[in-house]
């Protein structure tokens, strides 16, 4: 199973998470997002970039609680809640956003 990014083949597992996180690119993120029926806006990218930076530093995806707190800090109180994250990523902020960000599937349930 694989994504096609401008003719380049990127392998993924049965749920769509890429198997080699080092091959991620913004083009790939757009391809994955399309498959998830998400139109990427700057608000989406804000979350994706935060996830990638957090993973880079701590080698693990953040808990949703931590993600909400970070969004509140950088994007304002009105966006710092679960509802806002679910509007961006309807099938679960952790699972869907991590998939687009090219990170491994989180162990939690959302």
């Amino acid at each position: 199973m694989a994504y096609d990014v401008n003719g380049k083949v990127i392998e993924h597992d049965e749920e769509g998470y890429i198997t080699d996180i080092s091959v991620w690119s913004e083009d790939l993120a757009n391809v994955i997002a399309k498959g998830e029926e998400i139109d990427m806006t700057s608000d989406h990218w804000e979350v994706i970039n935060f996830l990638r930076e957090y993973y880079e530093e701590y080698q693990i995806a953040p808990a949703v609680r931590v993600l909400v707190k970070a969004v509140k800090k950088t994007m304002g109180v009105e966006k710092g809640n679960n509802k806002y994250l679910y509007e961006l990523f309807p099938y679960g902020p952790a699972k869907q956003a991590c998939k687009i960000a090219g990170l491994p599937k989180p162990t939690g349930c959302i």
Binding site: E57, Y58, Q59, I60, A63, R65, T107
Partner: protein, 143 residues
């Protein structure tokens, strides 16, 4: 009936003192990683926690780990989340959550380490002090 359910889901006031005892080297078994996951989960429920490193467990937080040759992910950076949670709890007066990160003195010294060798800030307690502190805990999980 309704009251019964209210009781069931009223977890607001439940707060216990958890101690997580890390005794094993970071790689080779799954214990270290599993305990770390449990610690991070307890943060979500704002529980009190003491994260303790004894015996070979002190290797888990050793600086400069290179796991390339054993084809494992180096998860020592993840311990910094524990430090961050502790700082958050210490700084937020509304948060009733006390966290301590402890290394047993004897285990540390037997392996030639000092607190500067670790990826996170730790408190050093002697075996006797740690034993006394253990007595105060509600739940002790060891791995």
């Amino acid at each position: 009936m309704e009251d019964q359910f209210e009781d069931l889901f009223d977890i607001e006031g439940v707060k216990k003192k958890f101690m997580f005892v890390n005794r094993k080297a970071p790689y080779g078994t799954i214990y270290a990683l599993e305990v770390l996951e449990a610690v991070l989960i307890s943060a979500a429920f704002e529980q009190h926690a003491a994260i303790v490193f004894v015996d070979d467990g002190v290797y888990q937080i050793k600086k400069g780990q290179d796991t390339k040759a054993i084809n494992m992910k180096n998860f020592s950076p993840t311990f910094k989340i524990i430090e961050m949670e502790k700082e958050d709890a210490d700084e937020d007066p509304d948060m009733d959550m006390v966290w301590r990160i402890i290394v047993e003195k004897e285990s540390m010294e037997a392996r030639g380490f000092t607190p500067d060798d670790f990826v996170i800030d730790v408190e050093v307690l002697s075996s006797a002090e740690l034993g006394a502190f253990m007595e105060e805990q509600d739940v002790i999980l060891s791995g």
